[in-house]
């Protein structure tokens, strides 16, 4: 696998897929960039006349595949393998290369949305640092060798009856599980252990206690009217963020003339993405948080509704709770709790309490309140319980113990990296030395793989077959969209080989679907038909036999409450540590993905780093400045990270993001930030991500963050406009002032593209940013360049903190090129490199641009991005991720958002070829397509019936900086908070 060419060879042999170098594939001869370079140096080149562009080859097929046309993208329904939430995706394949993931609108869970992480997956596929062949020790080997040696050793273990352990991440696919079980069944003592560095195991355990089911319910935010979250970051990183964001946005949507919306109250100690979107955000320390929860439980249990409602077994604990006094809570918090307690009980069942706590007791209490409020069966659904994020903290701890005790004969690791993210990674590493057979199925030579005797890289999920069942009764098939680029194979394949099963996993998959799922539907009589349909639709939901929710079991509840009361009372105040995941990097598995590394954190806007967030007051009292490196320690665990002063954070809390400080992630991911997993504790059967009583010492170093936004306040400018729901329903709203013009506007005969951004829907998750990056070949510039304020993102999400810095209101505002009719950038360009199109687009012609940067200066929205350097596009593998429809910009030219003009043109051409008009919503820019919150609406303003035209009539509609009279077709819909006043 030395060069790009060979890779295509493989391609051809296996699939008969095309090798169309005539398409603008960067591996073919002159890439766009090189050309622009040539063009650039034309003056020089002209002098040595007669010099031609290098000779290019066209290599056609040998045998023309019928279903395939070179240069035309085809879409395949599949599943995102980024996390176990398994959102439905559509994979855009162009000339045999998957180049973009988009949400599958038909998918019941994600329903068309996608997160930042998912968009990064394409880069992961072409990550040049993926393992390209299996390794024995560190030597490259062939699969034959590997299979032979491993099967021998496993055979030996079978004889000796030694312990075999398969360690994977959460696995939901029925067929995969079946394969695993079948593989393990051949050993006398074998176990499949699922492990998640950041687990939600507490919820599973709590439901085992409260409802006797081993499940994590699926939370129906779309049905809820009141959401009370105790530091659960359900819009950012918790369980299934895309699904939850979709539901949340749906329940809060005001786009179709709704007059009411979901109300969201967040209790949390750090400023989370979710908290920043709450209508009421109550800042509490972890200990106070527990008390608030108990207090809520008290009010609920003692309320008449609860007792009247019967069914709930509230009464037994009612007395116990009645005596409870929330000593720690200040008045504000109490009133907040009392208010929601009232709203929660009437009407029953449309409230939803979620908690991010890793304490099973807390979760048990949450279940109690939810059931007391009658939310089970409505907003909390155990029937379609979520199969994703299932993992057992207990198991891996036990495993590590056994490893160190030398009891484990064989350890097979697949898709997890405990050597990095296990809380006591040292003992894991130490333990591996006592394991005779260590096999890693990870796709890179990461911290864990490098400990293994055999590394059998598994294929990227875009290269392999798989199936998933993220929620009970929702099945999807994950189909490959490209033959493996390297000598890798799916981990199921490996298990089949080693289990002595001759079949390919594809056959196994089809068979198990034929046997298990085909019978569960009546629509199709022929399996192949059913199979094809499922693949095309991307999801299969059998007629579910409705399971009624088991009753709430209150035995043990009293002890739980007693314990919670005691710990929440006893825990000393003083500095506590909260560990969290960022929306970009999550648990750190994808740390080698520069798109994600360079994605500004929604809250802090910091890239390429993690840091210790402290509250402004704490910083002031202890004399900490932004960027001051501090040493935080508890017991043996310590970490050195810079300080970030975070408005809205609790004074007693330091927050540090997990997922950083990888050492064997790859060029992009190594030594970015510091690893905080050492602070995770294992208590009462679950991993805990909060600890009290840490020590914080200043060091002499200070660093400068690579931050895409350094100014927090709006400076009293009406940039993001806000309305209280009360006022909005009263019909209060923006009245756009019409400014005169010196000249008559140009006419837009055919189309007039416009966009509306609903600030009330936008949660700031930044999925659009990465989506745009993937679609438009936006380069990554690296930490230093971001520090110099030169990040290249075409769409950015401005984040403002308003009001009291200790407890601010947070606003998000996605800003992309506004395509102004009176664009101030156009009139200053000397060479007509940016002019207005007949369809109202502000065009940017890269090959005409000479780079005066005058347009950049004169753009009031500052959305233009300049190519300061020649950004690297040298790696032939990484270049496969480039979108051939978008020019790769060369050094010295200006670039910016174009409303994804390449998509507009594609649809226009299709429509014209078919001789029809373009339908509303047929064209979707990358940002709109992937927005889980439906916050971006694009369309044709000449068509009065188009959705965007309708939305612009809304009372919430306003233009950013309208006083400048730039007259952009892009406008914003004011943010509405579900509260009496703003």
């Amino acid at each position: 696998m030395s060069n790009g060419q060979k890779l295509w060879q493989i391609f051809r042999e296996q699939d008969g897929k095309p090798v169309d170098l005539s398409a603008k594939s960067p591996v073919a001869g002159v890439s766009r960039r090189t050309f622009l370079e040539v063009l650039g140096y034309s003056t020089a080149a002209l002098t040595l006349s007669g010099c031609r562009a290098p000779q290019q080859k066209i290599i056609p097929y040998l045998k023309q595949p019928v279903e395939f046309t070179p240069g035309v993208s085809s879409w395949f329904a599949s599943v995102c393998g980024g996390c176990s939430a398994s959102c439905g995706v559509l994979v855009k394949v162009r000339d045999g290369r998957p180049i973009k993931l988009e949400g599958n609108p038909d998918h019941p869970l994600s329903s068309g949305g996608l997160c930042a992480l998912a968009h990064g997956m394409v880069f992961g596929l072409y990550d040049p640092e993926r393992l390209r062949q299996p390794l024995i020790g560190s030597r490259p080997a062939t699969w034959e060798q590997i299979d032979q040696e491993i099967t021998q050793k496993l055979a030996a273990i079978k004889q000796s009856g030694g312990k075999v352990r398969l360690l994977t991440g959460p696995t939901t696919g029925p067929t995969s599980l079946e394969t695993i079980q079948k593989f393990l069944s051949q050993f006398s003592d074998a176990k499949h252990i699922t492990y998640q560095p950041v687990s939600t195991d507490a919820i599973r355990q709590a439901h085992l206690r409260s409802h006797g089911t081993n499940a994590i319910p699926s939370y129906r935010f779309d049905k809820a009217r009141l959401v009370i979250s105790f530091s659960a970051d359900f819009l950012g990183t918790w369980i299934s963020p895309v699904q939850f964001t979709r539901g949340y946005a749906k329940a809060r949507s005001l786009q179709n003339g709704e007059r009411e919306m979901l109300r969201h109250v967040q209790f949390e100690s750090r400023m989370s993405l979710t908290g920043s979107n709450a209508d009421t955000r109550v800042k509490v320390s972890p200990a106070e948080e527990t008390q608030a929860l108990i207090y809520l439980a008290k009010l609920v249990a003692t309320s008449n509704e609860a007792n009247g409602a019967g069914g709930t077994s509230a009464l037994p604990v009612a007395e116990q709770l009645a005596t409870f006094e929330p000593a720690r809570l200040n008045q504000k918090t109490r009133t907040a709790v009392e208010r929601i307690a009232k709203d929660l009980m009437k009407p029953q069942g449309d409230g939803l309490i979620v908690s991010g706590s890793a304490d099973a007791d807390v979760q048990y209490l949450v279940n109690f309140i939810n059931s007391a409020a009658g939310n089970y069966g409505n907003t909390v659904d155990l029937a379609a319980s979520s199969a994703s994020n299932h993992s057992s903290d207990q198991d891996i701890v036990e495993l590590v113990r056994q490893m160190n005790a030398g009891e484990i004969a064989a350890l097979i690791v697949s898709g997890v990296n405990p050597a990095y993210d296990y809380f006591d990674s040292q003992s894991f590493i130490h333990g591996t030395q006592k394991v005779p057979l260590k096999v890693s199925l990870n796709s890179t030579l990461d911290e864990t793989s490098s400990l293994a005797d055999y590394v059998c890289p598994q294929s990227h999920f875009l290269e392999a077959w798989d199936d998933v069942e993220p929620a009970r009764g929702t099945f999807s098939v994950n189909q490959p969209t490209i033959a493996p680029l390297f000598q890798t194979r799916a981990f199921q394949e490996s298990l089949l080989r080693w289990g002595g099963d001759g079949r390919t996993f594809y056959e196994v998959l089809r068979q198990s679907w034929r046997e298990k799922l085909f019978p569960r539907q009546k629509q199709y009589t022929n399996f192949d038909e059913f199979w094809d349909q499922t693949l095309q639709k991307g999801v299969f939901t059998p007629e579910s036999s409705a399971i009624d929710t088991p009753a709430f079991k209150s035995d043990g509840l009293e002890q739980t409450i007693a314990r919670l009361i005691s710990i929440s009372g006893d825990t000393p105040d003083g500095l506590g540590l909260v560990l969290y995941q960022k929306v970009s990097l999550r648990d750190g598995q994808y740390a080698n993905n520069p798109w994600l590394q360079e994605l500004p954190d929604p809250i802090t806007k910091i890239t390429w780093d993690n840091y210790a967030s402290v509250s402004p007051r704490y910083a002031a009292t202890t004399g900490l400045e932004e960027g001051r490196v501090v040493r935080i320690s508890k017991g043996p665990a310590w970490i050195e990270v810079p300080v970030h002063i975070q408005p809205g954070q609790h004074d007693d809390v330091v927050a540090i993001a997990l997922g950083y400080g990888r050492t064997k992630a790859g060029k992009a991911g190594n030594n970015v930030g510091a690893n905080a997993y050492a602070f995770v504790a294992f208590t009462e059967g679950t991993f805990r991500y909060q600890t009290a009583g840490i020590k914080l010492e200043k060091t002499s170093n200070r660093i400068e963050f690579a931050q895409s936004q350094t100014k927090d306040s709006m400076e009293d400018r009406p940039l993001v406009r806000e309305l209280a729901l009360a006022d909005y329903t009263k019909g209060k709203g923006e009245t756009e002032e019409e400014y005169g013009s010196l000249w008559s506007p140009h006419d837009y005969p055919e189309h007039k593209w416009g966009m509306a951004v609903d600030l009330s829907a936008c949660v700031g998750c930044a999925a659009c940013v990465v989506s745009c990056q993937a679609e438009n070949n936006v380069p990554v510039v690296g930490k230093d360049e971001v520090r110099r304020r030169r990040e290249m993102h075409w769409i950015r999400i401005d984040r403002y903190f308003e009001g009291d810095r200790e407890d601010p209101k947070v606003f998000y505002q996605p800003v992309m090129c506004q395509q102004c009719d009176n664009a101030s950038c156009e009139s200053v360009c000397p060479v007509l490199a940016t002019v207005h199109s007949s369809e109202g687009l502000n065009m940017q012609v890269y090959n005409r641009c000479v780079g005066t940067r005058y347009c950049e200066n004169n753009c009031p929205y500052k959305v233009r991005r300049f190519n300061w350097f020649e950004y690297p596009h040298s790696d032939p593998i990484a270049n496969l991720a480039l979108n051939p429809d978008v020019t790769v910009r060369s050094r010295g030219v200006m670039e910016k958002c174009t409303f994804c003009v390449q998509r507009i043109e594609e649809v226009k051409i299709r429509a014209r070829n078919e001789g029809r008009a373009i339908n509303d919503n047929e064209i979707q820019p990358a940002c709109q397509q992937s927005c889980p919150a439906n916050a971006i609406i694009f369309g044709d303003l000449t068509d009065v019936k188009s959705r965007v035209a309708q939305l612009k009539k809304s009372g919430r509609n306003y233009t950013l900086l309208d006083e400048l009279n730039e007259r952009p077709p892009t406008s914003y819909l004011a943010k509405v908070r579900n509260s009496e006043e703003v």
């Binding site: 000249w743 008559s744 506007p745 140009h746 102004c820 009719d821 009176n822 664009a823 101030s824 950038c825 156009e826 009139s827 007509l832 002019v835 207005h836 199109s837 007949s838 007259r967």
Partner: protein
């Protein structure tokens, strides 16, 4: 002006002071001599009158050149931006006349200046390495009055007297002026 070739013989008188030169030249002219030309180290004011040299017409040429530049500049801009390939730039009208004024002005000045000086050089036969007779020290501190001996009637003694009356320090005669 007399054409150079026809000037066969000449008499040149050298002066030290511009007053003498002016007086001498003026008197010579009135006395009926044909003043061929006068050579001075710097522009002597009143000289033109003394030898009755008509005012130059170059100002008019400069004016016309300017007008040409103006028309050219305006046409170029209006034609390219509004007729040949109209483009919607910043929503402004195709013919954004007010914005065309600066370039028009500059072109006016450019044309006027360059053409004027071009004509000047051509008219004065000034170009690279152009060779013309230069009198001794005339570029330093001498003022020379040259009379043309167009015909036999030229009275050299009368000229001599006239010159000396105006303190000429030296008088030379020569053939073939150019």
């Amino acid at each position: 002006m007399p054409n150079i070739e026809s000037a066969k013989r000449f008499t040149a008188a050298f002066f030290e002071r511009e007053e003498d030169l002016i007086a001498g030249a003026a008197e010579a002219r009135l006395a009926g001599f044909e003043v061929y030309d006068v050579y001075t180290p710097y522009p002597v004011h009143g000289m033109d009158r003394a030898v009755a040299l008509p005012p130059s017409r170059l100002t008019w040429i400069a004016l016309l050149a300017g007008a040409l530049g103006l028309v050219f500049g305006l046409t170029l801009q209006v034609w390219t931006s509004a007729y040949d390939w109209p483009l919607n730039v910043g929503g402004k009208p195709f013919n954004s006349f007010p914005l065309f004024i600066p370039v028009t002005f500059e072109l006016t000045v450019l044309f006027s200046g360059l053409i004027a000086i071009g004509v000047l050089f051509a008219r004065n036969r000034m170009w690279l390495f152009s060779k013309r007779r230069v009198f001794e020290r005339v570029t330093d501190d001498r003022f020379v009055l040259v009379l043309k001996q167009s015909d036999a009637s030229f009275d050299i003694d009368k000229a001599q007297r006239l010159f000396s009356r105006h303190h000429a320090i030296d008088v030379v005669e020569g053939d073939q002026f150019v």
